[in-house]
C-alpha cells in the first residue's frame, strides 16, 4: 500500500494544475439562459482542446495523451479542485469516443473521433425510454431496414444536451422475434433531421438539463451501425461501463467542495460548537473521505487487474446518499432562506434528488452488488 503519487503522477498533476491556473475559462455568462451557458462550456472545451487537455485518457493516436487510469482520475480531481466546468461534449468524450474505440470500424473512428475531441460535434445518448428505464433492454424504439438505410421510429427520454447535439448514440430494436437483449442494434443517428424532434424536459429544479426525443422515421445509413446488427446490448454496456468510470472523481470533489462550503457556513453562524451540527458535519466528512478512499481503491483494481472491483457501485451509492444528506443538512444550518428559489442551496437540494436515480438507481445498484458481488440468487421477474 502506498497512497502517494509516483513522480510521474505528481508531474502530471502539476502540469494540469498549472495549465488550469494559467488558462482559466472565460467569465461565466450571468444571463442569456442555458444556450449562453452551453456556448460558454463549448468555448471552454475548445481551450482545453487547444491546450491538449480535452481527453487525456484517449490514446495518443486519437489525439489524447494515453494517460493511465490514475492520471485520468488526477485530471478529474484537478478539474474539480479548480472549480472549472467539464468540457461541453462530456458524453462524446467519456462515452461515445471510448465506445467507438472498442466497437467502431476504422472509417468510423476516423470520421467521428476528431470532432468529438475538438467539440465541433456534440454527442448525446439515446438509451432510456418512457417504458425502459432500469430495464433498458425492454426498449421499444424500432429500426427497420429500408434499402441501404434504417428507418427509426420511437421515443427516447433523459437525453441531456440533445438540443446542442449533432450525433445521438441510439439503441433501437432491429429484431423483435428474438430474446429482448438480442434484438438490439447500436446506431449513430444524425440529430440534424426533421424526423427528430427535441422537447426539453423540465425537471424539479425548474431547468431543463434533459430532453425527450420524438423520432418519426428518422433515416440512418447502414454505415452508422456500431458493432454490428443485433449486437447493440454489448455495445451499450461498453458505453454504460464508461459512464461510471471517470465521472466519479469529479463528483467526489464537487461533494468535498460543497461540504467545505457548508462547514464554512456553519462556522460563520457559530454552529460548529453545536453538538448536533458538529456531529452531523463530522459524519458527512467521514462519508466524503470514505468515498475518496473507495474511489482510489477501485482505481487500484483497474490498474492491477484491468477491471473495477465492486467499489464502482458502492461509490455511486454512497456519493448520491451523502449528497442528499449534505444538502438537507444545509437547509437546517442556513435556515429557511436556503429554500429561496434560485439560491445555490435550494438548487443543490432539489438537484440531489436526481442523484439516487440517474446513472443507475440505488435500488438497481443494490441488486448489482447483491447478485454480482455477493453472488446472491436473482428473483425471477414476473412477466
Amino acid at each position: 500500500m502506498d497512497l502517494t503519487f509516483s513522480p510521474q503522477e505528481t508531474a502530471f498533476r502539476d502540469e494540469i494544475r498549472e495549465w488550469l491556473a494559467a488558462n482559466p475559462p472565460s467569465a461565466e455568462p450571468a444571463d442569456g439562459g442555458e444556450d449562453a451557458h452551453y456556448a460558454w462550456r463549448r468555448d471552454w472545451q475548445r481551450r482545453m482542446y487547444d491546450g491538449g487537455w480535452a481527453a487525456p485518457s484517449w490514446p495518443t493516436e486519437y489525439g489524447g495523451r494515453g494517460s493511465t487510469p490514475t492520471e485520468s482520475a488526477i485530471y478529474f480531481e484537478e478539474i474539480g479542485r479548480a472549480r472549472v466546468p467539464l468540457p461541453a461534449n462530456v458524453l462524446g468524450l467519456l462515452l461515445g469516443g471510448p465506445t467507438l474505440m472498442v466497437w467502431g470500424t476504422p472509417e468510423q473512428k476516423e470520421r467521428y473521433l476528431p470532432p468529438i475531441l475538438s467539440g465541433e460535434e456534440i454527442w448525446c445518448q439515446g438509451f432510456s425510454e418512457p417504458d425502459a428505464g432500469s430495464d433498458l433492454a425492454a426498449l421499444k424504439t424500432r429500426a427497420v431496414k429500408d434499402g441501404d438505410d434504417w428507418l427509426v421510429t420511437g421515443q427516447k427520454v433523459w437525453t441531456s444536451g440533445a438540443q446542442y447535439s449533432k450525433w445521438c448514440m441510439l439503441v433501437a430494436r432491429t429484431d423483435s422475434e428474438v430474446a429482448k437483449h438480442k434484438g438490439l442494434t447500436y446506431f449513430l443517428m444524425d440529430m440534424d433531421q426533421a424526423a427528430v424532434q427535441v422537447r426539453p424536459l423540465r425537471q424539479i429544479t425548474g431547468e431543463a438539463e434533459f430532453n425527450e426525443l420524438f423520432i418519426e422515421e428518422a433515416r440512418i445509413p447502414d454505415a452508422n451501425v456500431v458493432g454490428g446488427v443485433g449486437n447493440g446490448w454489448k455495445v451499450a454496456l461498453t458505453t454504460l461501463m464508461n459512464e461510471r468510470a471517470g465521472l466519479g472523481f469529479v463528483l467526489q470533489i464537487r461533494l468535498r467542495q460543497l461540504l467545505d462550503d457548508l462547514i464554512a457556513a456553519a462556522a460563520e453562524r457559530g454552529l460548529l460548537e453545536n453538538g448536533g451540527y458538529a456531529d452531523a458535519l463530522a459524519d458527512l466528512h467521514v462519508r466524503c473521505e470514505s468515498i475518496r478512499l473507495l474511489a482510489w481503491k477501485g482505481l487500484t483494481d483497474v490498474e492491477k487487474y484491468g477491471q473495477p472491483g465492486p467499489e464502482g457501485s458502492l461509490v455511486k451509492w454512497l456519493w448520491s446518499d451523502t449528497n442528499q444528506r449534505l444538502t438537507q443538512l444545509a437547509v437546517d444550518i442556513v435556515g429557511p432562506q436556503a429554500l429561496t428559489s434560485g439560491t445555490a442551496w435550494s438548487y443543490e437540494l432539489l438537484r440531489a434528488r436526481g442523484n439516487t436515480i440517474e446513472g443507475g438507481t440505488t435500488e438497481v445498484l443494490k441488486n448489482i452488488i447483491a447478485e454480482r458481488v455477493l453472488g446472491l440468487p436473482r428473483l425471477k421477474a414476473t412477466a
Binding site: 470514505s290 490498474e303 458502492l314 446472491l376
Partner: protein, 339 residues
Amino acid sequence: MDFGLTDDQRDIQRTARDLLAERAKPDIVREHAEAGTVDGALWKELCELGWPGIAISEENGGQGLGRIELSILCEELGRVLAPVPFLPTVLASTLIEHSGSAEQRAAWLPRLASGEATGALGSSVDGTAGLVIGAVGADVIVLIDTDGGASLLEASAAEVTPLAAIDPTRSAARVSGSGEELPGDVAAGTDRALVAISSELVGVCGRALEMTVEYVKDRKQFGVPVGAYQAVSHRCAQMLLDTEKARSTAAYAAWTADADPERLPEAAAMAKVTASEAGREVTASAIQAHGGIGFTWEADVHWLYKRAQLDSVLLGGAGSHRASIAGILAERIRSGAAA
C-alpha cells in the same frame, strides 16, 4: 497510488488465514467461550510465530514491520474471534512503544513482543477503568485517563476485578490503581491503538457478511432462497457497503500511522467511526438475516455481535470520535486551511 497489499503483506494475510482456519475453528472457539478460557495452545503458537511483536521495533525485540502488517493480523484474528489475548497485548505494547519512556520500552516491549508477558489497555476515570478486555492475568495494564494522561500499572499495582462481559471469548475486568506515568505523546499511542481495534472490527464484519450470504443462499422460504428477496439481498448489500467503508478507512489509517503521521489523528478517528458503526450494524444485520436461528445460542453469529459490541465502544464509540473530527474541522477553519 496503490491501495493494495504488497506481496509480503499478502503472504502474511494468507498464512494467518490458513493457520486460523485450522486452529480456530468455530467449535474450538465456542468451547473456550463457554468455558471462559484462553486457547493457550493457539496463543503459544502465535507467540512462536512472533505475531505479538509484529509491529514492535527490532531494537525492542519485535519484528519491526509496520502498522499495516499488524492490522492484517488483527483483522484475521477478528474474523475467527480467536480466544487469545492478542489485541489487548498489542494495544498495551502500542501505548508503551509510542507514548512511553525509553525505560518503559526496554522493560516491557521485549516481553510483550515474545508473548512472555501479556498486556491490556483501558480508559479510566479517576484511576478506575470500568471494563478492560484481557486484564485478567495481564502482566501490565495501561490506563488512558480522561484527562489525556496515561499510566502503566504492573500487575502487582493493579486491582483487577474480573467481570463477565457479554463477549466471553476474551477476559474482562474492572481495573483500578495508580501506576507510573507514560511521559510521551499519549495521542500517538492512542491513535495507533484505535486503528488496531478498527481492523479487528473489519475482520468481524467480513466474517459476519460471509456467514450471512452463505445462509441466505441456502435457507428457503416460499420455495426460494431468502437471499433472492430484495428485502434480504439489499440488507446484505448494505452490510458490504458498511464493511468496505470501514475496511478502506482502517487501511488508510494504518498507512498514515507509518507514512504520513500528521494525518493519523484524523484518519484514526475516521477508522474508529466507520468500524464502530459497521461492527454494530453488520453483526446486527447478520442476526436479523439469519432469522430465528440467528437469535439462538447455537448459531455462531451472536459471538460476532458480542465482540463487535465490545470493540465498538473501546476507547470511545463513533460519537466521541466524530466529536474529535468536528474539532479537527473547526481548527482547520480557524487556521484557514482547506479540509
